[in-house]
């Protein structure tokens, strides 16, 4: 994997991120700097177009005082660290059982058809990457997908297409349910606890 990716020669944190480093290290006891490896990798990934080049992992290793190999182990273990260039919008479609029963095939199909890419691929313009995810823990609003950091829920073919159109034109769609639901309340009106108005029953 890593051998085929063109790696930048060098990585340094930006001035802005360097300030954040202090805050991250402050969360861990003295002498336990190695614990900061994951937030630092995340910070590096955000600074570097959403993926972690080897130079960034080496730099983080140096900062937290770990052997580079230990950092590679962490970065390859977690799927949220991307070790190869990734599209601007990372579409992470959940295809586990509840989402699948609720139509994740449609969501996935729309993505594939509209973008002309398969799972694990990136569009030529570098705007979208498509991934298949295991359960993201939003089954109550299934089917759903995560785009970068945000959850877009209660999707169907049309709302998925609309999402992609908005993103394509450079806009930012509103996260959350893409139908009329509010959060994870029932569709339509409330079905229980109607009288309590937020107070416990007497």
């Amino acid at each position: 994997m890593s051998t085929t990716v063109e790696q930048p020669a060098d990585f340094k944190f930006s001035a802005e991120n360097k300030k954040k480093l202090k805050g991250i290290f402050a969360k861990y006891p003295k002498g336990r700097e190695a614990s900061a490896v994951m937030p630092l990798l995340d910070l590096a990934q955000r600074q570097h177009q959403g993926w972690l080049p080897r130079a960034a992992m080496d730099h983080v290793a140096e900062l937290v005082g770990l052997a580079p190999m230990r950092v590679y182990e962490v970065a390859t273990f977690y799927t949220m660290y991307n070790l190869a260039p990734i599209g601007e919008n990372h579409l992470q479609v959940c295809t586990n059982l509840p989402c699948w029963l609720r139509g994740s095939d449609e969501v996935m199909g729309t993505c594939k058809k509209k973008l002309g890419i398969d799972v694990g691929e990136t569009t030529e313009d570098g705007k979208f990457s498509l991934s298949e995810m295991e359960c993201l823990g939003a089954c109550v609003n299934a089917p759903m997908m995560q785009i970068n950091d945000d959850y877009y829920e209660d999707l169907d073919e049309a709302s998925t297409a609309a999402l992609l159109d908005t993103l394509q034109s450079g806009g930012t769609p509103t996260p959350g349910p893409q139908n009329s639901r509010k959060g994870c309340e029932p569709e339509g009106e409330l079905t229980s606890l109607k009288d309590s108005k937020g107070k416990a029953d007497a």
Binding site: S2, T3, R54, A67, M69, R70, Y72, E73, T76, F77
Partner: protein, 683 residues
Amino acid sequence: MPKLTIDGIEVDVEAGLTVLQACESIGIEIPRFCYHERLTIAGNCRMCLVEMERAPKPVASCAMPVGEGMVITTNSPAVKKMRQGVMELLLINHPLDCPICDQGGECDLQDQAVGYGLDRSRFMEDKRSVKDKTFGPLIRAMMTRCIHCTRCIRFSTEIAGVPEMGATGRGEHMEVGTYIEKALTSELSGNMIDLCPVGALTSNPYAFNARPWELKKTESIDVMDAVGAAIRVDTKGPEVMRVLPRLNEDVNEEWISDKTRFACDGLKRQRLDTPYVRRDGKLEAASWDEAFAAISAKVKDMDGSKFAAIVGDMACAESMTALKDLTEALGSRNIECRQDGAKLDASCRGAYLFNSTIAGIEEADACLIIGSNPRVEAPIINARLRKRYLMGGFPAAMIGENVDLTFSCENLGAGTDTLKEIAAGKHAFSKILKKAERPMLILGQGALMRSDGAAVLAMARQIAEDNGMISDDWNGFNVLHTAAARVGGLDLGLVSGGVDSILDGCSSGAIDTVYLLGADEIDTDKLGNAFVIYQGHHGDVGAHRADVILPGAAYTEKNATYVNTEGRVQRARLAVFPIGEAREDWTIIRALSGVLGLTLPYDNLDQVRQRMLDINPVFGGDDQQTGGAWGDFGKAGSLDGGGFASPIINFHMTDPISRASETMAQCVEALLGEDKGKTGTDG
């Protein structure tokens, strides 16, 4: 002491042991893959599962500490089934390629599958396969065979201190490797081959050469450095196939350096297999009689003082004894074993030994390294230092080149200036040494080879005495040698004016004939017009300059005595016979003495060894370390400036054998990126 019951047997064991160790203590064998006595506990192979009373599930015995009143069962049908289950799971992704796997016949997985597994597989799906990786020229990796025991990862992280191995990915996609394709840079990497319980990591130079049951195994001693690691030489017919470590807790535990393990292919190349005599400027093959006659013609009625002998780094004590006696019989006192010019003092034994002993490092509580890089000079000792460091409370510092010793070791300075400060007690580290109960110092050859070596030695002695390193039950003054022959030579008293005075004598014509006993690390240009007799096993520097070459035996080809840097007398044993016309070294000198009419008074090995014993009683202590007397050694004097540099620049090529080794040449190429040893016409 917790008392527990194992298979109905009540045992008292030390607290802190694991159930697996408790089982072993009463002779119950627990199968295991990931557990290893010298590594941390991982508990991931699950092969060591046992039943524990009142525990709802089987427990991994390697990771379960013993407790009072535990009841353990290791022989129930349930345990049998557990083992079968674990074995079946391990074999799911293990290829069935034993016939083409080099581990076959010495494979833990194979043995335990036969012992504890099922006789057939129920797995019909596709097996996982892993892309092959490259770990450099020494280790052949077939990672599809890997069962993820992580022993290699733990070894490189803990013992070697070069954390290059790791497990990337997870679950089905987990792979053991280096992530970035590169050659491993540890000097101890070969030990991973022994640790690997399957055929994932096997020896590259030995690949497809032999099966373990075809090999004759000879227990011997290594001579690639002055540690004297215990080795087993595996031979097939007249060929040394491989070198493996043997257990010796006092010296090498169960590790050997890569040079010890892999340089043995040098024993097959550039060998001297017949005597040579230089005629009209050209070396020509000759018979033993012709060679001896040529020497006799030169030496017979010569003034003894014009004869000199230099002993090389791999000479055995037997041949040194014979050469010493021959030199003296010729009327000369010019015999020198300090080939590198180190200003070692042979006046008392404590002056040139690693007095604390290697195992004793674990008792030290502070360490000062002077002019030495133990990582390349003696990787096994470096591993022991690291082991001590990992125990905690071991402040270490070095004076010399700033090198990475794989453990925390502060560089105080480059050379004599810092040494003077320490000697004067003015340095911050002096306080640490003073406070320590068992401080030690390691004095390397790099500090002694200088022209002011004797003064450095005296100053080191003073530091040792001033900082409480010398007491009745502790001697922390350690000289780290780089040559296997050195301590033996000093014990036999092979010291004269130094190698430089011999070479100067050759240049000026004061010395007319030089006998080189495997001496290849000298500047042969300085031999001038002297008549050079070279006795050795490889056509190296010394042989190129020689006028007569007498082919000797390498360390695997003779029964020989070596004294390691601690002063431990150990015997190497004959594994294969010398090549061609070559003979055991002491017999050559004995035969030559007869031709010269100065017949030495011994006819067999026992008599030579008796003669060694007469010269120095330490040779009586087989496999024993004999402590050395302390004295007033070294010569106080002014120190030159400048830094100390280790004599070993290239770890992989330090002697005629490793210089002839193709494997070592590949290592140099892979690690240093140099094409040393290449002629430009090869490949």
